[in-house]
């Protein structure tokens, strides 16, 4: 493996890690379902530090929410749980492994296998990002339910 291939692998792995962190710390939608966790750190651990979201909510008061944890404006707490970090590490490892296979191997079958392994890493990362503990609801499902109920109440009123 030459220096250019090593640099490409390291840069792509770092990009994958940065994008994963950015997706993980993306603020949740403004209309969460009542009683459901609005982001993964809320479901997995205690509320984190305050961010610009809390500053915005302090300047303009947010509408009242039914859940007390939502009213505290949890902010963004990246990788609060070891389980989440472990799964994201495996996803990053799979992506890097596949990328190394794509860059270094000469056989076409190996290159295709590397692409498949990269795809598995991305799938693992997406699955980990949407994981909730069994006691909580799925965020996407709760968001759809909340938006559907909002549309339904809007059409009736």
């Amino acid at each position: 493996m030459n220096a250019r291939a090593a640099f490409a692998i390291a840069a792509s792995a770092a990009l994958f890690a940065v994008l994963s962190g950015a997706l993980l710390t993306t603020a949740p939608p403004s209309v969460p379902a009542p009683g459901s966790p609005r982001w993964i750190g809320e479901a997995l651990g205690p509320a984190g530090h305050s961010t610009s979201r809390s500053k915005r909510s302090s300047s303009s008061p947010a509408p009242s929410r039914s859940s007390s944890s939502c009213a505290t404006s949890p902010g963004v707490q990246p990788m609060a749980d070891g389980f989440l970090a472990l799964n994201l590490g495996f996803a990053l490892g799979l992506f890097t492994l596949g990328l190394a296979g794509v860059v270094t191997k000469r056989s076409l079958v190996r290159i295709l296998l590397g692409i498949e392994v990269m795809g598995k890493g991305v799938t693992t990362r997406a699955t980990t990002g949407e994981f909730r503990s069994p006691s909580t609801t799925n965020t996407l499902r709760s968001r759809r339910r909340a938006s559907a109920s909002g549309r339904g109440s809007g059409s009736t009123s």
Binding site: F83, L97, R106, S107, V109, R110, L113, K120, T123, F131
Partner: protein, 83 residues
């Protein structure tokens, strides 16, 4: 083994093995088992649709296509790198 961490670790090991084993048939077999373990991890992670897709496409269809391609071309081993 039943935890997602153990399943992901086993899957990672088998997928890494599939990229480094010299025999392509064994590489595809390791890839298939690794994909199946990854699908099991997805089931444990409460993602049944991703697991079903991974199991049918990743572990089934892709592996069969690879095996057919290797059988048709007759390239079972990785070619030697000329020195």
């Amino acid at each position: 083994m039943g935890s997602p961490g153990g399943l992901l670790a086993s899957s990672f090991s088998l997928l890494a093995l599939s990229l480094h084993v010299r025999d392509l048939i064994r590489a595809i077999a390791a890839f298939e088992v690794g994909s199946a373990l990854l699908a099991t991890a997805f089931f444990v992670l409460a993602a049944p649709f991703a697991a079903a897709l991974e199991l049918t496409v990743g572990a089934g269809l892709v592996a069969v296509l690879f095996l057919v391609a290797i059988t048709l071309t007759g390239a079972r081993d990785e070619p030697e790198v000329p020195t």
